[in-house]
């Protein structure tokens, strides 16, 4: 290592520290490492350069700053259907301490109150379990991600993705909200395979050795500087609410044909079954519709049209052929009825 001459012709300086590689962490210098300072003087006397002089070595230990962040991921509720199993909300846990720590995990259901993404909590999911995103894909994979009660040996600055997984009771209505809360609490690290002891903040007289300082902020349900942090996420139920109505119109009769047809024997009647899904919920899929052809009427072969639309409550003459007729019953399946949409099954029959 060479030093440029000063403008005043100083001699070289011997006390240059050789830089060793110390990884720079956002969470800071690793706890327990020493900060050592030494200064040096170079000088001349009578124009003669003298041996340089080093100062004492001032050294102290960087203490352990315990900090962590639990955060819900996605800024949106998890939309679930009644009876859904394995419904999950996603959180991250970041160790922003300057030391390796374990983290105890607990989940809780809140009762009432405003949920994480609005709405009021009015039900609990069941069988709540916390899973770690073992394969780090950000998505809960049943059978792959492992259930956890603590995170072992999380390095400084490291982040782990966690899922709170539960089952949605059947019978919940659209707009029902369940709020879940994840709390992580720092524990002693250093020993893999088991959860470390509770952290103890150094109080009273400080020591020259590594002390422990809690530096975390307050979460949704924990105080600042308690080595814990918490956040909420929620489930919102969206289900399909279907209503069915049936209408009929005379298409033609043998006398008037299609001009002002009357419901006389031999007339062709069009039946329209409307399936409406309430707005604000979820789409209904594989909606099966069946209707018994009235007595004294004969089904017109291959007249079923599925997935037609409605305008102003009146069935349109659209839709695609499909469905089946068997034993006096017309049936067909509408693939999807979106929330707020109405789809139809239309068939024709003649009056005997």
């Amino acid at each position: 290592m060479t030093i440029k001459k000063l403008h005043m012709g100083s001699c070289g300086i011997v006390a240059l520290a050789v830089a060793s590689a110390t990884p720079a962490f956002a969470s800071g210098t690793t706890a327990g490492s020493s900060i050592t300072n030494t200064a040096s003087i170079s000088y001349s006397v009578g124009g003669v350069s003298q041996p340089s002089v080093n100062s004492n070595t001032d050294s102290f230990v960087v203490d352990r700053k315990v900090n962590l962040t639990v955060a819900e991921v996605g800024s949106a509720t998890t939309v679930v259907a009644p009876g859904q199993t394995g419904a999950y909300t996603t959180f991250t846990l970041q160790n922003t301490s300057n030391a390796v720590l374990d983290f105890a995990l607990t989940s809780a259901q809140t009762a009432g109150g405003t949920a994480a993404h609005g709405g009021t909590d009015n039900f609990d999911v069941t069988g709540v379990t916390i899973y770690s995103d073992t394969n780090s894909n950000g998505v809960y994979d049943a059978g792959t991600d492992t259930a956890v009660t603590y995170i072992d040996e999380l390095a400084a600055d490291a982040t782990v993705t966690l899922f709170v997984v539960g089952n949605v009771p059947s019978g919940r209505a659209t707009g029902d909200v369940s709020n879940v809360r994840l709390t992580a609490t720092g524990r002693e690290g250093g020993t893999g395979g088991s959860m470390g002891a509770a952290l103890v903040q150094t109080t009273g007289a400080n020591t020259a050795a590594m002390d422990t300082v809690f530096a975390d902020g307050a979460g949704v349900s924990d105080a600042a500087r308690d080595a814990a942090h918490s956040d909420d996420d929620d489930y919102t139920v969206a289900t399909a609410t279907l209503t069915v109505s049936k209408s009929s119109s005379v298409v033609s009769d043998p006398i008037n044909s299609t001009t002002n047809p009357k419901a006389i024997p031999g007339a062709v009647i069009s039946y329209c079954i409307q399936v409406a899904n309430a707005s604000g919920g979820a789409a209904a899929t594989s909606v099966s519709v069946s209707d018994i052809v009235p007595a004294n009427m004969t089904y017109v072969a291959s007249s079923i049209r599925l997935n037609g639309t409605v305008t102003g409550g009146v069935c349109n003459a659209d839709g695609v052929a499909g469905g089946s007729f068997s034993s006096g019953t017309v049936s067909g399946t509408i693939a999807t009825v979106a929330a707020g949409d109405t789809r139809t099954l239309v068939f024709q029959a003649t009056i005997n």
Binding site: M1, G28, T29, N37, Q50, N56, N206
Partner: protein, 160 residues
């Protein structure tokens, strides 16, 4: 050489230069290094007070004050007097109000005012050096230090 000065628990920056103990030493000049932690506390009346404490509880982000006391113990003036302080790895430079200082951002190869120094990026381009890039700080005195003269140098750092 090993010498200690007493460390006032709340060392006032404005106090007179503390004497560096006269050492029976082969060296005609002496220097002593002290690191203090700067803490700002707010009392119940809402007044904030900044104290310098011994570095007992130190966590990343804490502000440090490095105090160097030098003295010419010899009988002749010391010329070409240069004090160099390599920054500890875990400390980011946070400025100094002393005159005649220059810094290095490359381990002491090149020196200058921070604004004139550059850091080479991985892609070969240069960017202006920042305070946290500083690896060394140096005081080069223009005037000789007379025999018996003592002084204090100071700079600030932040625990990374």
């Amino acid at each position: 050489m090993k010498r200690m000065i007493s460390i006032a628990f709340a060392l006032s920056l404005a106090s007179a230069l503390p004497g560096v103990a006269q050492a029976q030493s082969a060296n005609a000049v002496a220097i002593d290094s002290n690191v203090m932690v700067e803490r700002t506390t707010t009392d119940t009346a809402g007044r904030s007070q900044t104290m310098l404490e011994e570095p007992r509880v130190v966590v990343p982000g804490d502000k440090l004050v490095f105090v160097l006391n030098y003295r010419n113990n010899g009988v002749r003036p010391a010329t070409d007097f240069v004090v160099t302080n390599p920054l500890p790895q875990a400390v980011a430079f946070d400025g100094t109000s002393d005159a005649d200082t220059s810094v290095s951002v490359d381990g002491g190869r090149n020196w200058g005012q921070l604004a004139t120094l550059t850091i080479r990026n991985a892609d070969g381009t240069n960017r202006p050096a920042r305070a946290e890039d500083v690896t060394h700080i140096r005081w080069a005195f223009q005037q000789p230090i007379p025999a018996g003269r003592a002084g204090r140098l100071m700079f600030r750092g932040v625990v990374r």
